[in-house]
Symmetry: C2
């Protein structure tokens, strides 16, 4: 059962978490001087509009008309009630999911790729660089750059580049260039941290080029809040006053922030981050300043981290293998406003396969984490006999992750 928002009801302003944080965020520090960075330090990488959003105290920030025009290619996205999943579980809970898989790139990533490409093109930038792991973010940015007529160059973690050629083909169809990273060592399998270093190095070397990051930063989470803002309206359409718990997978934190932040001020709403046990940043990391990349070129941010040189095992949910987490998410967990839980990947695929069978949709492995969390909440509701309202983010489809499903179906999946 789906709840569709009319096109004219699509939100026209983003929800800014910064002025509402229980504990104010500490400033990012310059990687060399360890002093707080100012707008000028960030200007070689980002347009001024995004730097302002990164530090803004406005409660809401208007979405430009030319961004709304592109978001309307797929937004508003459906909210669906997973009635058949509820029946399969025999739960007293009501389970809703926000379907971000209907975007051109098949995930929530275009929600921020589009405004990032827009603001850069508006300030005269002709070319963006970025990194990508499994390829979700790279495809999203390629799509967004095509909409505003600017070039995209994507540094893709080498082992994904070689093992998963499909997302590269999508990027090329949208006109982008995609190369394996690290560029200077063809024998290295690469990592997200290394690819960030490659993309940043390229961006600072050319005046016409900026860098774009697909998660972690405040402005990225800001752009993703359209997910939760829409979901809030759609839950009301479904006759729900509020969700009791909002759940999303957490890699860098952008899809989690997107669905959860608009509910942060309602104390009756629990917020739940789900991460892989093999990269347990929020549940086992240290809270403190760390670099965002491997080479130490990015500003240092206060966050939960496993260490900038942490090399997570290869798991199928490539989007959840980041050593750190968004400062906003980290702070909410640190202050106790948000909960976090970690699962081994076999448990997340078990949930994804059940979901595929009863609800029909094939989730991305990242999304399997969301579903695992939602199922366990629904079972807890059944045990307690309450009619909990569960909202989770369906952040992407699994049509490009079928080898992982084959491993699971054939009993070959291992927990790293």
């Amino acid at each position: 059962m789906q709840y569709n928002l009319a096109a004219e009801k699509m939100p026209t302003a983003w929800f800014n978490a910064l002025p509402r944080m229980p504990e104010p965020l500490k400033p990012p520090l310059h990687p060399g001087t360890k002093e707080p960075v100012g707008p000028d330090d960030l200007a070689p990488l980002f347009p001024m509009a995004l730097i302002e959003q990164e530090m803004s105290a406005s409660p809401y920030i208007d979405i430009p008309g030319e961004v709304l025009d592109v978001l309307r290619l797929w937004r508003p996205t459906p909210l669906r009630r997973a009635i058949r999943l509820e029946q399969a579980l025999g739960t007293t809970a009501r389970i809703y999911y926000k379907d971000e898989s209907v975007s051109p790139a098949g995930s929530h990533k275009p929600n921020t790729a589009v405004p990032q490409a827009y603001y850069n093109s508006k300030e005269g930038i002709k070319r963006l660089t970025t990194e990508t792991g499994a390829g979700q973010w790279g495809t999203a940015l390629s799509f967004a750059c095509a909409q505003y007529g600017i070039d995209a160059k994507v540094y893709m973690v080498r082992n994904s580049f070689e093992a998963k050629p499909y997302r590269k083909i999508i990027m090329e169809t949208w006109g982008a260039e995609c190369v394996p990273s690290p560029v200077d060592d063809p024998s290295s399998p690469g990592s997200l941290g290394m690819a960030i270093s490659d993309a940043v190095r390229d961006a600072v070397s050319r005046d016409d080029t900026h860098y774009a990051l697909g998660s972690v930063l405040n402005h990225v989470l800001l752009h993703q809040t359209i997910i939760g803002l829409e979901a809030r309206e759609q839950l009301a359409m479904a006759g729900e006053k509020r969700p009791d718990v909002v759940i999303a997978p957490c890699g860098g934190g952008s899809n989690l922030g997107g669905v959860a932040l608009p509910f942060m001020e309602d104390k009756e709403v629990r917020l739940l981050a789900v991460e892989p046990l093999s990269c347990p940043t929020l549940t086992q990391g240290t809270y403190g300043y760390d670099f965002g990349d491997t080479a130490g070129m990015t500003p240092m941010m206060e966050m939960y981290t496993l260490g900038a040189d942490f090399m997570p095992p290869t798991i199928h949910a490539g989007g959840l293998r980041y050593h750190g987490d968004a400062p906003i998410i980290s702070s909410l967990v640190h202050s106790g406003r948000m909960e976090a839980i970690a699962y081994p990947q076999s448990k997340t695929f078990e949930a994804a396969a059940l979901f595929a069978k009863v609800e029909g949709r094939l989730p991305a492995p990242e999304c399997g984490h969301s579903i695992r969390g939602a199922i366990d909440e629904a079972m807890a509701a059944k045990e307690a006999g309450d009619d909990r309202v569960i909202l989770f983010n369906y952040c992407g489809h699994g049509f490009l992750d079928l080898a992982a499903y084959d491993d699971y179906n054939q009993g070959r999946m291992i927990d790293a």
Copy 2:
């Protein structure tokens, strides 16, 4: 810009073309006796409810509640106006597309797979067999069988089975079995006609088993009319009185019938079939009785055909390689109510790639035919200076057809 129908506005009855045909259809003939077949001849293959629908004279046929429950997993589907495509073409036309790619299987096919699985399970059938080419229909039937707890066995054309393992993995995730066809000759690349023979042979050999066909038959087109019925409501939401032309790709004819038939009685609406030049059934075939399969086991139907032993060249739009066409579609073309046009695949990929760039979505190769037709209509409108309203069916996404896009991007695509 999308026009979403509220869940409660989803049609609850299918539109039956049979009593409205300009020329009545001739009956199917028994492959052995060449006499008209009756319900009893079809009973080894199909449940009585579908046999009745195959010959029904009712103007509308109610959709059972248990079928509506499953369709609601993804329906109503969005109608979108392709404003950015219009702008790219500089056309005076308004272009709308009905997005059937949002279904669990990624195409329009589940619209009929679901009622077929339902009616069979209702009549006590425990197992369905079918054939599949590139895999769209096999995945759809696997999904549908999982919803009603019956088994599915899919005979997949061997060269697709070997070259495209992904759809098999999806079928297995939904619990189905998928084997290469022909089963008795591992050296043959196979064909859709051969796979039909394999599936029919299996079905007639077991009492608990029926056969399911994904296109061509009257009841299949009937189930697909929900596409056009929804689109009609959504065009009204967009302020359009009617489309001037309705366009869809034509393989067996089911997605074309689905979007076009509900408009057949409005003489001001042109209906346009688009087929590949390498399998030009409607534009170069013969109109007359022919078999549906290679082995001559299926009833003979009056239709446009290239001959049951026609072996089309391997093209990327695997769903459009059938030697025949639905009797309903064939008759509409024969009577002059429907137009048909054929394109080489390079022209359809050119259209698909443009669409992907400006509208963001990556179409299935079959769908590229629709888009080619829509673009050429839009250019004709620009030349004529009229404000033509164009509706086309976006019958599936291309996330599992990326090798074809790679061929196109790298200049390796050839016209067979």
